[in-house]
């Protein structure tokens, strides 16, 4: 049989990974460079000179010690014990501290070794994030040890002491008149009360604004509040561009709740349904049971049309709504009337259990919120799945209108002193906003920052800021839930937090400070909270809370509430709808700016691990790109990597094009957060900034993310986009399966195609007498958020290799999230598959290693012994899953040079730093297995599920990854592997992986055969 015959006969459903492949697989294949062909080059031979790769090496650590220790003449090593051993530290054993993230309010669990934090995870006892944190939070540990951090405060560009700063503050703050403070949203009750007592004018803005939601809530219900969306209660979810699984709102909390409602473990056969109307293809749309591609200018029309239909079904018409009938809207927006009708019908059916969320773009953003609020109220979802009353969120408080009043005050000269923290105005806003001139005109600017950046260049006083892991504080993510932020390391540099400074400065004009220091200030706030949470003594309660990490009411997640909807808000939205829709005759493009899960607002852009984290949707790293639809690219003759000039009357940038399925024609999209000019050696100059596009006459000071009238022209230049996807093709083999809920109910094994069940083996089976480690990954739960990728890199000292090396396909991440598209090439369905070493029983890598560097352990691990590896790469060639990573260079430190301080502190001492010429891969976190086994053995028992959890499992907000002992039939992993949806990838190769996947189930009608890319024979 010829190759193509084999393929067509074995494919149940054709998945594809990129646009070119879906169009012409044959051509694509021919043009694709070999997966593992990469030209050997010597270090320093690359064209770009010093360069990112050298910095990458700086961001790693030293294998030098290891190589020296191997020599016969060993250098004398010294053991330096403590003079006074801190009571709680046993060198060699980790300590765990509960803390919290000041930006999201999520509870954290910080692992420290010998007094230095090496890993941050979610606190499982915290009722909001319940043990999970995002990729950016996972990576925050690397920000702490960033060598580019600002180490001393500066006055007018020169290092200064804090005494000098305090003296300057004493003058500037002598009277509170004319003192303004500009911050990001403040979740800390202590910090808020200190600012209130100081009496400064306080302005908060969010760099990823939620102002539309807040304003909409104010107009609809009377109070400007960020509701707590209860995805854990919603059986039917409609999202209009609210990317709640990616970067909108309290994403980790949402993801946790959302995945719980969709888990099909045990005998459960029901799951929630998600319908997404989406402009730019993002994670939420990719996880939807039905995704509808829309133009962002049509958001309000679609919402009004749903409102019309819902009103019609429940017999509650509203005057003026009739022009938004689905038929009319279909004409205006191209969204099929039956989709609207069906959504409306389902919303009514799931009354009280549904949830509609939206994120508005452009001038109708608040009107859109008002419609959504109307729908939630009229469908009785308000109070059930939306909590705006009992425990609303504190995470977003920003208000760009108040920022405008700050600007006005500056321009009228009434601002004498401006304290800025958590906001980088010169990077955030367009130049044309005149922010630079405004800030320069303020006599005293105190700017808190971790790095010298865009704004610090014009601030007179630059205040080196603590990392949250170095500071005392507290935080309240939702009403009535409080956590203490406790330092896990003394400040590495001469830095202070905003709270430290404000407490210090509170004596100015008063003679006495509010509290001795930040710690005392937090304690005094908590003395006020004490009575509400505990009847024991304050000290007991404080100690307990410090240990558990959270104070929350017991019945926090129960209870319902309801607010009265103000019909005026809906009437004004109906009026606003008249001017909604695409600008007719607009032949130019519409640019939609979004934020990426890896990068957010760009404040962590000096973090190599985040720069190298593939965007979950495009799998591109190291910079942004212009996402365009396939037909737009085709029509204009653009190919992936063609650099185009994107311009408006006000601004222009050059950026590579990338074809993204799921966009409507005429719409292009790019990520914010890139194009930093002044941040650090890693972040500077990566990608381009779109800040200058965000000025708008209608949006006021708030950055406008929806830009019309954009002209795009080809420059003729090209760049290879550092994408990690093309390197991991699957050559048309079936490795993921999906099905519909209906089919799954009839047959749990639906959708799974087994070509050669139980193939014969030429190997004798391994015998596992003790443990047999295995993993189950539920593809139905995985949302692709990529927190696991970052967690793995931090836990296992996996280095970032830099843009040039990623372009050559040499990224080092041990776990990757493969993304497969299927179905309609214009608006496809997506499956995410976390792919890591499968720890095969019949491991193809083990049989080809000439030096026995990779072997099988008696508890089922595929072991990699670095110091035995000679780098033949045979194992990698023979691995069908392509999960082995080769160290082409000394990725941890420059050759023959020590690591830059303080990077050695960041490394996990339990994992070897791999040197050049060595193969590496996922170990199932063997250091955790060994530690867990050891602990259990000391206690005279078998290691259970709570003894050993892998880093990716800990990080997974949707609990898709379960690790454990397959020899224990009662273990969760054993039960999952026995589940009907369970399958192994590429079963026909008979590698017998220790990882099984559980098939993806979509809550929609079964696809007709015609929709599959060829039937199964």
């Amino acid at each position: 049989m010829k190759k193509d015959q084999i393929e067509s006969s074995t494919q149940a459903k054709r998945f594809w990974m990129s646009v070119e492949e879906s169009r012409a697989p044959e051509v694509f294949e021919k043009n694709l460079p070999g997966e593992f062909i990469s030209t050997p080059i010597r270090e320093g031979e690359e064209s770009s000179g010093l360069d990112r790769r050298d910095f990458m090496k700086i961001m790693g650590a030293s294998a030098l010690m290891a190589s020296l220790a191997g020599c016969t003449r060993r250098p004398v090593q010294k053991i330096v014990p403590y003079v006074n051993n801190p009571e709680e530290i046993i060198p060699g054993k980790p300590n765990f501290y509960a803390s919290a993230d000041p930006l999201t309010g999520y509870g954290l669990l910080v692992t420290t070794r010998e007094g230095r934090p090496i890993k941050v995870d979610g606190n499982t006892d915290h009722p909001v994030n319940r043990g999970a944190i995002s990729a950016r939070d996972q990576a925050s540990i690397h920000d702490l040890y960033d060598p580019d951090r600002l180490r001393n405060p500066q006055i007018a560009g020169a290092d200064a002491s804090w005494e000098d700063i305090d003296k300057a503050a004493a003058q500037a703050l002598a009277t509170k008149d004319g003192v303004w403070i500009l911050t990001s949203s403040i979740l800390s009750p202590t910090l808020q009360s200190v600012i209130d007592r100081l009496g400064y004018r306080h302005v908060m803005i969010d760099s990823l604004p939620m102002d539309d939601v807040l304003e909409g809530q104010a107009q609809s219900y009377g109070e400007r509040v960020m509701p707590r969306y209860r995805f854990d209660r919603a059986d039917y979810i409609v999202s209009i561009d609210a990317d709640f699984l990616d970067n909108w709102g309290s994403t980790v909390e949402y993801e946790k709740g959302f995945s719980e409602k969709r888990r099909l473990s045990g005998n459960r056969v029901s799951m929630s349904k998600l319908v997404v109307f989406e402009s730019m293809m993002r994670l939420t749309g990719q996880n939807a049971d039905r995704r509808v591609a829309i133009h962002p200018a049509d958001q309000l029309l679609i919402a009004l049309s749903i409102a019309f239909e819902v009103g019609r079904i429940i017999g509650q018409g509203t005057p003026g709504l009739s022009e938004y009938s689905p038929a009319n809207i279909q004409q205006k927006t191209g969204v099929a009337a039956e989709i609207i009708t069906e959504v409306a019908k389902d919303l009514v059916r799931y009354r009280g259990r549904g949830l509609i969320v939206a994120s508005g773009k452009g001038p109708q953003a608040v009107a859109l919120q008002n419609v959504v609020n109307f729908l939630n109220s009229v469908l009785d979802n308000e109070g059930e799945t939306i909590d705006g009353l009992l425990h609303p969120s504190n995470q977003f408080k920003g208000n760009y209108a108040s920022f405008e009043s700050l600007l006005t005050a500056i321009r009228t000269g009434s601002v004498k002193t401006l304290i800025i923290q958590g906001v980088n105005p010169l990077y955030l806003f367009a130049e044309s906003m005149g922010i630079e001139a405004a800030i320069k005109s303020v006599p005293n600017v105190f700017y808190f920052t971790s790095h010298l950046d865009e704004t610090s260049r014009i601030a007179k006083y630059v205040l080196a800021e603590n990392h949250p892991l170095e500071s005392w504080g507290d935080v309240s993510p939702i009403k009535d839930v409080y956590s203490i932020v406790q330092p896990t390391i003394r400040s590495l540099w001469n830095t202070r937090s905003l709270l430290d400074c404000l407490i210090e400065w509170s004596a100015i004009g008063r003679g006495q400070k509010f509290a001795e220091n930040a710690y005392e200030a937090v304690v005094s706030t908590w003395k006020g909270l004490h009575g509400r949470y505990s009847s024991s003594s304050f000290q007991n309660w404080w100690d307990d809370t410090l240990m558990s990490g959270v104070a929350a009411p017991a019945n926090l997640n129960n209870g319902t509430s309801s607010r009265r909807y103000k019909m005026d808000a809906f009437r004004s939205a109906i009026n606003a709808g008249k001017s909604a829709g695409r600008v007719s005759g607009d032949t130019d493009f519409t640019l939609l700016l979004t934020s990426s899960i890896a990068f957010g607002d760009g404040s962590q852009s000096n973090n190599a691990i985040l720069q190298e984290l593939p965007d979950p949707v495009s799998k591109n790293t190291w910079g942004n790109y212009l996402a365009v639809s396939e037909s737009t690219a085709h029509k204009n003759g653009w190919k992936d990597g063609d650099i185009v000039k994107v311009e408006t009357a006000a601004s222009s940038v050059e950026i590579p094009v990338y074809q993204q399925p799921g966009l409507v024609d005429g719409l292009v999209s790019a990520h914010l957060g890139y194009g930093r000019k002044f941040k650090g050696r890693i972040g500077n100059g990566v990608g381009v900034s779109f800040a200058n596009f965000t000025a708008s006459a209608t949006s006021g000071a708030m950055p406008n993310w929806l830009v019309h009238g954009v002209r795009i022209t080809k420059t003729g230049k090209r760049e290879k986009i550092p994408c990690t996807q093309g390197h991991h093709r699957l050559e048309g083999r079936d490795i993921v399966f999906d099905t519909s809920l209906e089919e799954y109910r009839a047959n749990p094994k639906a959708g799974i195609v087994r070509h050669f069940p139980n193939p014969p083996s030429i190997w004798s089976e391994h015998e596992y007498k003790g443990y047999k480690w295995g993993m189950a990954i539920d593809l139905n739960s995985c949302t692709g958020c990529s927190a696991c990728v970052v967690a793995c890199s931090v836990e296992n000292n996996v280095p970032a290799v830099g843009k040039e090396q990623v372009q050559r396909g040499r990224e080092m991440q041990w776990i990757r999230i493969d993304r497969y598209y299927s179905g309609d090439a214009m608006n496809p369905e997506t499956i995410y598959q976390p792919m890591l070493c499968q720890h095969c029983d019949n491991a193809p890598c083990e049989t080809v290693c000439p030096v026995l560097a990779t072997t099988h352990s008696d508890d089922g691990l595929n072991q990699m012994t670095y110091n035995r590896c000679v780098g033949t790469k045979y194992c990698s060639n023979n691995c069908p899953y392509k999960v082995r990573r080769f160290n082409w260079f000394e990725n941890n430190a420059p050759m023959n040079a020590p690591m830059e301080h303080p990077l050695p502190l960041m490394k996990n001492p339990e994992v070897t730093l791999r040197s050049r010429g060595v193969m590496e891969k996922c170990t199932f976190c063997v250091q955790r297995i060994e530690a867990g086994k050891s602990r259990a053995k000391t206690e005279g028992r078998r290691a259970g599920e709570n003894d050993i959890r892998t880093a990716c499992q800990d990080a997974c907000a949707s609990d898709a990854i379960v690790f454990g002992d397959l020899n224990d039939p009662e273990s969760k992993v054993a039960k999952l592997q026995a589940h009907g949806r369970s399958f192994t990838s590429l079963e026909e190769l008979n590698a017998k992986p220790a990882i099984t996947y559980l098939s993806k189930v979509r809550n929609r009608a079964p696809m007709k055969n015609a929709d599959h890319g060829g039937g199964h024979h």
Partner: protein
């Protein structure tokens, strides 16, 4: 006995094992054998043998809050993860690997500390010790 930094180290190794019937080297709790903090030495040496120049040196370092830098005699490569806790919990005594340190004037390495030497012990069936690469390398 002639007093030297080395011999001080010898006697320490024993003393730190069981100080007041309690391990201060944490060798039964941690993968690493901890050298105790200077404060532990000073518990006795505040009053014991204060005329010794070595003890005076120790005291001076302690008073100046300076750690003592001990020479590491038993050096394993960085890619080897040896776990003291497991061996002590199994009842293997210190001198099995380290020799009779108490009798040494200057601490020296008595066993080769090579992989073959480790494995020799691990593969004795009566020891029921693991032979996986991952046991020591990761």
């Amino acid at each position: 006995m002639r007093i030297s930094a080395d011999s001080l180290q010898s006697s320490l190794c024993i003393k730190i094992r069981k100080f007041n019937q309690q391990s201060v080297s944490n060798v039964d709790k941690s993968p690493h054998a901890n050298v105790p903090s200077t404060a532990v030495c000073m518990n006795c040496h505040r009053v014991v043998k204060t005329d010794s120049p070595w003890i005076q040196k120790l005291t001076e370092a302690y008073n100046n809050n300076q750690p003592i830098q001990w020479v590491n005699v038993h050096v394993l490569p960085d890619f080897v993860y040896f776990n003291h806790e497991r061996h002590i919990q199994r009842g293997i005594s210190c001198d099995t690997c380290h020799g009779n340190v108490a009798a040494m004037e200057k601490v020296e390495q008595v066993s080769p500390f090579t992989m073959g030497w480790c494995i020799n012990c691990h593969r004795q069936p009566e020891n029921q010790a693991p032979l996986n690469c991952n046991t020591c390398h990761r």
